[in-house]
Amino acid sequence: MKEYTYTEKKDTRSGFGVGLLELGRTNPNVVALCADLIGSLKMDAFKKEFPERFYQVGIAEANMMGLAAGMTIGGKIPFTGTFANFSTGRVYDQIRQSIAYSGKNVKICASHAGLTLGEDGATHQILEDVGMMKMLPHMTVINPCDFNQTKAATIAIADYEGPVYLRFGRPAVPNFTPADQKFEIGKAVMLNEGTDVTILATGHLVWKAIEAGHKLAEKGINAEVINIHTIKPLDDEAILKSVGKTKCVVTAEEHQMNGGLGDSVAQLLGRQLPAPLEMVAVNDSFGESGTPDQLMEKYGLSTENIVAAAERVIRRK
C-alpha cells in the first residue's frame, strides 16, 4: 500500500489562483471575470499582473455568464470566478443557453463548494452543483482534490475547447499530489490498488478515502482507492475494471447523493456491471453553520463514514 505524505495543508482555491496566474503568463487568450469575490477566489495576482484581461463584474452573476459567453467570440478563453452556489443554481439558465447549448469555451470556476465553506451556513453551502452541471449536455465537470491538482486542472482546462465546470473549496486540506502532475481530463487516478472494495472519491473526500484505506488495512481489508477528479466525462473504463475485480464499491463526495459522483457511478454500474454500492454523501439535506470538521462529521462525510461504508458494502457482496 502506498503511503501518501504532505508537508502542508493548502486550500484548493489557492491552487486555482496560482494556476490562473500561470495561464495569464502563458496564454494571452485567457481572460478572467469575477463577481465581487476577488480575494475569496484568489484572483488578486492575475488581476494585478494582467489588469487589461481582468473584468470586475460586481454582484451580477447572470451578466457575468453572458459576458463570458460573448467574450469567446473573437477567441478569448474566459474564466469566471465566484462561489459555487452563485456559479450554478443562480445562473443555471444563463449557463444552459448562452454557454452549454451555444458550445462556448467558458471555464466556470467555482469556489467554496460544499459544507466546508463552514460558518456561513446553508445559503452558501451548495451541495447540488455537480448534479446541475453534469446534467448539461457539452459540460465537463471537474472536482480536484488538493492544491496541486487544482492548479494542474486550471491549467489543463485552458487547452480543452468547450465549457468546463471546475469545482474547488475554501478549507486547507492536505496537499499530497505531485506538483508536476499532468492533469488529464476524464482520467481517474489510481491511488492504492486493492482487491476487497473499490473506493471512488472526489474533491476533499479523496484524502479521507486514503485515510480510510489505511484504517481498513488495519482490519485486514484491502481497499482500492481511486481519485475521480473528473465526474463528467466519467472514467467508465477505470471504474468497471476496478469493480470487476473488487465486486463492490463505495463513493465519497462532498455533495448530495442525488446528482453527485455516487449517482453517476450507480448509473454506470446499473447499466454495465451491477454491484453493491454505498454512497458517502449528504442525504437529501441542507447544511448549517459550523466549522468544516464539525459539519463533515455531522453530515456523515468523515474518514470513519467511509470505513463503515466499505465494511457494509463488503458484507453485501
Binding site: R53, G58, L67, G70, G75, K76, S98
Partner: protein
C-alpha cells in the same frame, strides 16, 4: 465590406420579400412569432443590406474584422432567418425547413446545428445584451474597431439581467456597442405598460449612463439616418441605445397593433390576404 449597399427602394422590395417569407414560414408549421418579426423587418434589412460590415461566406464565428449582430429576443427568428438567407449566409430554400425536425432553423436561434450567421443561442430572454457586451470587450482587446449590435424586445426588459448588463456596459465604457430595443409596446399577455410598465426608457437608460437615440423602425427614410447617428455616437465613452418604435405585425393590416399575433400563425385564408398585401415587383418566394 458590406456586399449589399442598397438604395431605399431596393430595401423596401427586400423588406416586402422578407415579410412574405415570414408569414409563409410560420404558416407552414402553424407556429412561430410573426408579429415581432414583421415589426423588426425594416431594422434587419437595414442592418444586413446597408449598415453592417460582414462576410456571409465563409461564415466566421470569431468575426474578426467584422461587425457583430446578436438577437436577444430570439423568438423573432423568422425575420433573422429570412434576412440571413437573403443576404447569402445559406440557401433561401432552407427557409422551408423552419421549425421542422432535423432543421438548422430551430424555433429559436441556435448554434448547435451550425447555421451560419448565428453565434449564440437565444430565446430565454434577457441574455443577449450581456453576450453582446462581452463580445464588444473582446473586440476592444483584439483592437478590432468594428461594432457590435444587439436587438432586444421591450417586454424583455423585465429581466433583471438586462439592467445588470446596462450598468456594466456604462461603467466599463463599452462604446463600441449599439443596442436597440424594439419598442412595440406589446408582450404576450398584453401591452407592456399594463403587464409591467417600462415607463420612460430614455430617462432610464440615460440614468444608467447610456447615449440614447430614438428611431422609427418602420420607415427607412428615418431609420437609416438614425442608424448612422448611432454609429457616429460610438467611440465616445458610452454605450449607445436606440429606442426603436415599431408596430407589431407591420405590413399586414390585420396583424398590426395587437399583441394577439405575437405567437400565432395565420391560417390559409389569412396567409393569402397577407401575401396580397405584401406584393413585390419580382417575388422570389422559396
Amino acid at each position: 465590406m458590406n456586399p449589399h449597399n442598397k438604395s431605399i427602394d431596393e430595401l423596401k422590395q427586400i423588406a416586402a420579400q422578407v415579410r412574405r417569407d415570414i408569414v409563409r414560414m410560420v404558416h407552414a408549421v402553424n407556429s412561430g412569432h410573426p408579429g415581432g418579426s414583421l415589426g423588426c423587418t425594416d431594422y434587419f434589412v437595414s442592418l444586413y443590406f446597408k449598415v453592417l460590415n460582414y462576410k456571409a461566406k465563409p461564415f466566421n464565428m470569431d468575426a474578426e474584422g467584422e461587425d457583430l449582430f446578436f438577437l436577444s429576443n430570439g423568438h423573432i427568428s423568422p425575420v433573422w432567418y429570412s434576412v440571413l438567407a437573403r443576404a447569402g449566409f445559406f440557401e433561401v430554400s432552407e427557409l422551408a425547413t423552419f421549425r421542422k425536425i432535423n432543421s438548422r432553423l430551430q424555433g429559436h436561434p441556435a448554434t448547435e446545428e451550425g447555421l451560419p450567421g448565428i453565434r449564440v443561442a437565444s430565446g430565454s430572454l434577457g441574455q443577449g445584451l450581456s453576450v453582446a457586451v462581452g463580445a464588444a470587450q473582446t473586440k476592444k482587446l483584439n483592437k478590432d474597431n468594428n461594432l457590435v449590435y444587439v436587438l432586444m424586445g421591450d417586454g424583455e426588459l423585465g429581466e433583471g439581467q438586462v439592467w445588470e448588463a446596462a450598468m456594466y456596459a456604462a461603467h466599463n465604457k463599452v462604446d463600441n456597442l449599439i443596442a436597440t430595443v424594439d419598442r412595440n409596446y406589446q408582450q404576450i399577455d398584453g401591452g407592456t405598460e399594463e403587464v409591467l410598465a417600462l415607463g420612460d426608457l430614455r430617462t432610464k437608460f440615460e440614468a444608467f449612463g447610456w447615449h440614447v437615440l430614438e428611431a422609427d423602425g418602420n420607415n427607412f427614410e428615418t431609420l437609416l439616418p438614425a442608424l448612422e447617428d448611432a454609429k457616429k455616437a460610438t467611440g465616445n465613452g458610452k454605450p449607445v441605445m436606440i429606442l426603436m418604435n415599431t408596430e407589431m405585425g407591420f405590413g399586414v393590416d390585420f396583424m398590426m397593433g395587437s399583441h394577439k399575433w405575437h405567437g400565432v400563425a395565420p391560417n390559409d385564408e389569412q396567409l393569402e390576404i397577407a401575401l396580397q398585401q405584401l406584393a413585390v415587383e419580382a417575388a422570389s418566394d422559396y
